[in-house]
């Protein structure tokens, strides 16, 4: 890139060799001076804006640490493993929301990852050309629907459906198998951990699909053609050529989806049931970090209560930061490899 090293001031306005009076020369140097200042000013303005992005991130971290300090000092590390959440006695522990966050996200990923990969395979290998764009756009529209829509739909349509048709059969089907009977125990509430996980799965599906499709499309055709030439079936090409080649990118996309699932608030808050306890059954109501904050923050009285909720936010931010940073590093590595 030679153009980035260009000298910032370039002669303008007057052509060399033109007749210049003393007055014109003064004007000319004034104009040049002004342009030079404008140039430096604009450069600094953009630089400051770029630095502002960093300031926003550090501001988030500092304010969360500052806000959660009273709770962290009062409860110490046991905040992370304590199950009590009692606003009356002002004793708070974060394990129940952390557990709910992780379990709902795991359920979501168990469903969304295979389905998303299969859709991406369909879009890149099987789908007729004229249908690719419409289906791709439709999947991306699914990503554009605001999360509160998923929430209200989950509460009024999806949860009653699960309660009446799916959960009773789950309970009777697994009720006699030792380990699964605890997992699917209890009355069918409709709302609960499983419902939240399923809604999250629908929400992250488009993210995983569109990233997987993009990385699948980046596989050099010659690799696939060579495999087909050897007599591989479409599935064998996808499984043994496309997937190994795009592994890093797929994992990056999955982590990105996981980051979304962990931090999602509104879709979960509607259907999780908001019960501050850990239950062995995934049909039981539970809570997640974001749902707890959304439900209780405005009603929190007392500094310790508020501070505990902010501490939950800090935990959520740390978890998602690690997941997202990992995802970005993987995707950056992939881009560097494809670019070279």
């Amino acid at each position: 890139m030679q153009s980035t090293r260009r000298s910032p001031v370039v002669d303008v306005a007057l052509q060399a060799g033109a007749m210049q009076t003393a007055q014109e020369q003064v004007d000319r140097s004034k104009i040049l001076q002004r342009l030079r200042l404008g140039d430096i000013g604009f450069r600094w303005l953009t630089r400051c804006a770029a630095i502002t992005v960093l300031i926003i991130l550090s501001g988030i971290i500092i304010s969360l640490v500052h806000g959660s300090w009273p709770a962290l000092r009062a409860f110490g590390p046991s905040f992370l493993i304590d199950e009590t959440w009692n606003p009356v006695t002002e004793k708070f522990g974060a394990i129940a929301p952390i557990y709910g966050t992780l379990v709902t996200s795991i359920i979501a990923m168990l469903i969304a990852v295979p389905v998303g990969l299969f859709i991406a395979m369909f879009l890149t290998e099987l789908c007729p050309m004229w249908l690719r764009r419409p289906i791709g756009v439709a999947i991306e529209l699914l990503a554009g629907i605001p999360s509160i829509i998923y929430g209200i739909w989950g509460l009024f349509v999806f949860a009653p459906f699960l309660q009446q048709h799916v959960q009773p059969s789950l309970i009777s089907a697994f009720g006699h198998i030792p380990l699964l009977s605890t997992l699917f125990a209890g009355p069918p509430y409709g709302i609960g951990i499983l419902t939240a996980g399923l809604i999250l799965a629908i929400m992250v599906l488009p993210f995983i699909t569109s990233i997987s499709r993009d990385v699948f499309e980046a596989v050099p055709p010659v690799l696939k053609e060579a495999a087909y030439g050897l007599g591989c079936t479409t599935w064998e090409v996808a499984r043994y050529v496309v997937l190994p080649f795009t592994r890093v990118g797929v994992i990056g996309g999955v982590m990105l989806g996981l980051g979304r699932a962990l931090g999602e608030t509104m879709a979960v808050t509607f259907v999780i049931g908001n019960a501050q306890r850990i239950s062995g059954s995934i049909l039981a109501p539970g809570t997640t970090i974001s749902a707890t904050i959304a439900n209780e923050f405005t009603e929190a009285v007392g500094d310790l209560y508020t501070s505990s909720l902010i501490a939950l936010g800090l935990i959520l931010f740390v978890i998602t930061f690690i997941v997202l940073a990992f995802a970005r590093l993987l995707l950056m590595r992939l881009n560097a490899r494809l670019g070279s």
Binding site: M1, R47, T52
Partner: protein, 287 residues
Amino acid sequence: MVMISGARSPLYAKRRRRNVAMMGFSFGATAFGLSWLVLILGVLLWKGFSGLSVAVFTEMTPPPGSAGGLLNPIMGSLIMTAIAVAIGTPLGMLAGTYMAEYGRYDKLSSVVRFINDILLSAPSIVVGLFIYEIMVAQMGHFSGWAGAVALAVIVVPVVVRTTEDMLTLVPDTLREAAASIGLPRSLMIRRVAYRAARAGMITGVLLAIARISGETAPLLFTALNNQFWSLNLNAPVSSLPVVIFQFALSPYKDWQNLAWTGALIITLAVLTLSIVARFLGSQSKSS
């Protein structure tokens, strides 16, 4: 697809069966994914349109048990979105400009790019907590300004990303031509590069608006909610997503119906914005 005719050995049969099964799965998965879109939009249109009337756009949110509309939350959302875009867009565009034009390969840019990508998918409720800490807790009360700033924090990464991407697509020959006629660099960026990338940059802003118009979590404890008509940004301001949240979880049938109507309005707005953005985006890439 290559079919080996006459191959009757069990291995071939097994491979073919597996292939057919997996292709069936991928077909089924696509139908499964698309059926959610149909189900969600179908219910939304059905429930939302049945409550849609002129009153929704002309009347205030009602107390439980009486009729009303969504005028104050619609206005609140529009105002806060406008302010958020007014704050976030210039900031994001300038930052994106630095990363694409001045420091495309320098260290600051790669750090900002990385952090920006994380902010892009960071949980929005954390942004709400951040603004609560720095604005609501300091000012002592919930306010529309806090809500608008929280939304602006979400706008910035979207605009940074698209601005940088779009400016990177501008061919260097345009920049070199501008420099060769003696244009200083800042003028070259504003008069040439911005103009070439304009459609893409507008796309970014539209996407950002689509993103924040459905955001609820950052508004819950910054702008809070307001049952009455209020344009005072120093006081709590009502917004469509927060009203949907409150009304949907209420036991009153009227409120729940209004929540569905509000959900329909938001979804139509968001989908329209993203379709327009996609249209502009595809134009800017092909030209």
